[in-house]
């Protein structure tokens, strides 16, 4: 077994060395193709992460009717607290709201001069339990909250979350459609490179057939070659992606960091990297399998 394994590996490396240029070309093309796929994976992964973080931060603001007497607020808070999915509720008076706006405006707070706090409606900041911080469950809580007569309007950034979810889904779809196209292209490329390898070793393969080498014995080195090409191609893609990610992280404009709310852009997790590497190897193997079916057939 060890003898065969050593023989196969030595022969594979010998084959690859003997056909260095076609092999490097295949690995390079695979790396670029896998890089395109990995970039989309990285974007989709980060958008999903953002979505999760933002969903975690989702809060509901319920504006009370202006004429709501202060003595009824305690009752409203109690009603809201009793709703399923509500973690905590905080009353924000018009004065609190004005103070908050002044803080947010900072040096430009003079813009608020002359405006009375009473123009702002009193409101409730409702914090939801973790399981309820998604676009479906949040609607359940809101429909119950709307039953409270003192509540005039409820806002929770629904459109923003739903649009972003749609964007993430679109990215995921593009990722898989692109993946499918690249997959077909890579199988074609690997299959053709191995065809070159087979043609340069035609004499040796012919002799192997003549002296009774088993089909597996002839084909296995080509399968290993495909696996190595796939692994190196995918590995190269991950390295290039890491390089791009590092450069992007270093030079990302400050304004853009603000835009994403200070959330840092993540690199692909180890599990996804392992999937991409395995995917590359499987593609390589499949490409060599197609080539061997076509060119390493026993007999003639």
């Amino acid at each position: 077994m060890i003898f065969f394994l050593r023989y196969f590996i030595v022969r594979t490396l010998h084959n690859m060395k003997g056909n260095l240029f076609p092999n490097l070309t295949t690995i390079g093309i695979m790396a670029v193709s896998m890089l395109i796929f990995s970039i989309f994976s990285l974007i989709a992964f980060n958008l999903t992460s953002f979505l999760k973080i933002w969903e975690d931060k989702i809060g509901v603001i319920a504006y009370l009717k202006r004429e709501t007497p202060l003595r009824e607020v305690e009752g409203v808070l109690k009603n809201i607290r009793q709703l399923e999915g509500v973690e905590s509720v905080k009353y924000v008076s018009p004065f609190d709201a004005m103070a908050f706006m002044e803080t947010r405006l900072g040096s430009q707070k003079n813009l608020l001069e002359g405006i009375q706090p009473t123009v702002l409606p009193p409101s409730l900041e409702i914090q939801l339990k973790k399981d309820y911080r998604n676009s479906i469950k949040i609607k359940e809580v809101i429909s119950q909250a709307k039953q409270v007569p003192q509540i005039e309007e409820i806002q929770y950034g629904q459109e923003w979350v739903e649009t972003f979810s749609a964007l993430v889904h679109l990215m995921r779809h593009i990722q898989w459609v692109l993946g499918g196209l690249l997959l077909a292209a890579m199988i074609f490329i690997i299959s053709n490179t191995l065809q070159l390898t087979v043609s340069t070793r035609r004499e040796e393969i012919e002799i192997m057939h003549l002296v009774g080498a088993s089909p597996a014995f002839i084909q296995i080195p080509f399968y290993i070659e495909g696996l190595i090409q796939g692994l190196l191609g995918a590995g190269g893609a991950i390295l290039l992606l890491l390089l791009l990610y590092k450069s992007f992280s270093l030079y990302i404009p400050f304004s853009m960091r603000e835009w994403v709310g200070g959330i840092s852009i993540l690199f692909l997790p180890p599990k996804t990297i392992a999937w991409i590497l395995s995917g590359g190897m499987i593609l390589g193997l499949f490409g060599s399998f197609v080539a061997s079916m076509k060119f390493l057939k026993y007999s003639e």
Binding site: F3, F4, Y7, E203, E204, E206, I207, M208, H209, L210, V211, G212, A213, S214, P215, F217, I218, Y298, S299, E300
Partner: protein
């Protein structure tokens, strides 16, 4: 050892390469397949080692029906036979011993065993002095002896030779023929295709004549000679 029954081989848009070949070669027999170039000798041999499938007919080698559609283990059949061709089919970037060891490597022999077998076979074909030499440094006769050594190194019971002396001079032909005669003497079945009628006349073996793909005569040269 070999049974061919009503074997036909036709290539598209060509005249039949073989027509209605029926023959039987016993174990341990030395048989010449004789005929001019293009008569169908090579096609017949290629059918025997499964490089070609006949268009029609049945071929049985050592009890294996090689023409049945479900027969797929061509490599197992080829391990039962040694194949020698006019163009040697040797690896030019390897040494004499590596070329012979190659046949053992691909059939799963370990290195030490392969080395012993290679040394032994090189002695049998008289090339023990050239073990480590490059294939490129050998003469045509030596190349053919290396090809024969590789065909024999797995001790096959059947040897198929397609014009193995085609490019050799008279003396080298005689040397190579002596190897085949020694093999036959040790019980190997030899099927030897050649167009060289002078060569055939020198040896007392069975001759099957093929012309335009048809078997025209099957004679035992020694018997014919005796009758003459």
């Amino acid at each position: 050892m070999i049974q061919m029954t009503q074997v036909f081989k036709t290539y598209p848009t060509q005249i039949p390469a073989l027509s209605d070949i029926t023959l039987e070669i016993s174990s341990g027999e030395f048989t010449f397949i004789a005929g001019p170039n293009g008569s169908g000798k090579t096609t017949l041999l290629r059918i025997l080692f499964c490089a070609e499938r006949p268009s029609r007919g049945e071929v049985i080698i050592n009890g294996i029906h090689i023409t049945q559609p479900r027969f797929k283990k061509i490599y197992q059949l080829r391990r039962m036979m040694g194949i020698v061709s006019q163009d040697f089919k040797l690896l030019r970037d390897r040494s004499v011993s590596d070329n012979i060891a190659f046949a053992l490597e691909v059939t799963g022999h370990v290195r030490r065993e392969a080395k012993r077998k290679v040394e032994e076979i090189l002695r049998r074909v008289g090339l023990q002095e050239r073990e480590g030499d490059s294939i490129l440094s050998l003469s045509a006769g030596e190349l053919q002896r290396v090809a024969i050594a590789r065909a024999l190194v797995n001790d096959p019971p059947l040897l198929l030779a397609d014009e193995p002396t085609g490019d050799l001079d008279t003396q080298t032909t005689a040397d190579v023929m002596q190897i085949f005669i020694d093999l036959h003497a040790k019980g190997t079945t030899v099927v030897f295709a050649t167009h060289d009628m002078d060569l055939i006349q020198r040896y007392p073996y069975r001759v099957i004549h093929i012309l335009n793909g048809r078997m025209v005569k099957d004679e035992m040269v020694d018997r014919v000679r005796a009758e003459a």
